[in-house]
Point group: C2
Chain length 193, copies 2
């Protein structure tokens, strides 16, 4: 029976270790991007040896993939009135990012996607699989196809300047003012010409 309990505790420990590695990896990738994040640093943060990271995740690239399971958790946009759509989007991402910007998977991915091809490809996937369909359902496929990209540009532009670059002129603004100023702007993009 000692062998049985031993297996159990062993499995649990490996799960904890794996989770600790993932958490540390997300923080490092978020703070430094893909290139500057080292497996050694991740292992050190997780309180284990670097070789354990390799054992669990194979290599750095696969660790990056595992650390970035992204769900934008977009609300169902078909249930919100058309005139509230833009504000809903702005508020959604503001709330998401204000909560824990340093640990948000989308910002983590964005930071790496600027210099890493694999991460950029992942951004394309996220957009195609989550943003585009949600907007198409609310706006209709034709309008969404022509404007979803620019809406994303506006929202990612906010994420970029406020949480990654930390431009003082953007970080100084309270969230209410951002929402009030940006919602009409997104609305303007969504309005057919």
């Amino acid at each position: 029976m000692s062998s049985e309990s031993e297996i159990t505790t062993t499995d649990k420990r490996s799960d904890r270790t794996k989770a600790a590695i993932l958490r540390a990896a997300r923080e490092r990738f978020a703070a430094q991007g893909y290139e500057r994040t080292t497996i050694r640093a991740v292992a050190s943060d997780a309180g284990i040896d670097a070789s354990m990271v390799m054992r669990y995740f194979g290599n750095k690239e696969q660790l990056f993939d595992a650390a970035l399971a992204i769900d934008l958790r977009l609300p169902d946009l078909t249930t919100v009135p058309a005139e509230e759509l833009a504000r809903t989007l702005v508020r959604h991402f503001l709330a998401r990012w204000e909560g824990d910007p340093a640990d948000d998977a989308l910002l983590v991915l964005l930071r790496s996607a600027v210099t890493n091809e694999r991460a950029a490809a992942r951004m394309h996937e996220i957009f195609a699989a989550q943003v585009a369909p949600a907007l198409a359902a609310a706006l209709g496929p034709e309008l969404a196809a022509r404007r979803a990209g620019l809406v994303s540009a506006q929202l990612l532009g906010l994420g970029l300047t406020r949480y990654l670059l930390r431009l003082p002129a953007v970080t100084a603004l309270p969230t209410e003012e951002i929402e009030d100023a940006l919602a009409p702007a997104v609305e303007a993009v969504l309005a057919a010409e």
Copy 2:
């Protein structure tokens, strides 16, 4: 007199070499960001040895600084009518980036600023020294202080998604459509609430 001509040709060659290094450095930093750009690769592109880069620029950080003398060349916004201000801004950056995106110093800087503190600090300087004053002159200091950040967020969001991430939904759009859709959006941000 042979010594004199020798000095002359020598000086000219060193200038050419220095210029070739700077050009190669800009292209590498633009394509790969700060971290992934190696002095060896820059030297190879410039057709010289890596040690020459060190000789001329001291170290990688100083080379980066030298490669990034950025002038946004913003037009005098006080001469454009208020209702054309947003469109002027959008058109200015579109024209700038469409021309030669891979070699544009602002995009080079942006790519690196996301993961490099030094580059991010430089972005802050550019904003404070060029964007903020230009908008303050056209909009007045109070409104500019509250909205210049979000205007920059929208413009940089376009640069980010179209030229760095190359999101298909954004790269697929013709410049005219971007201008027509984004100008009213920037206008909406500039309109006082």
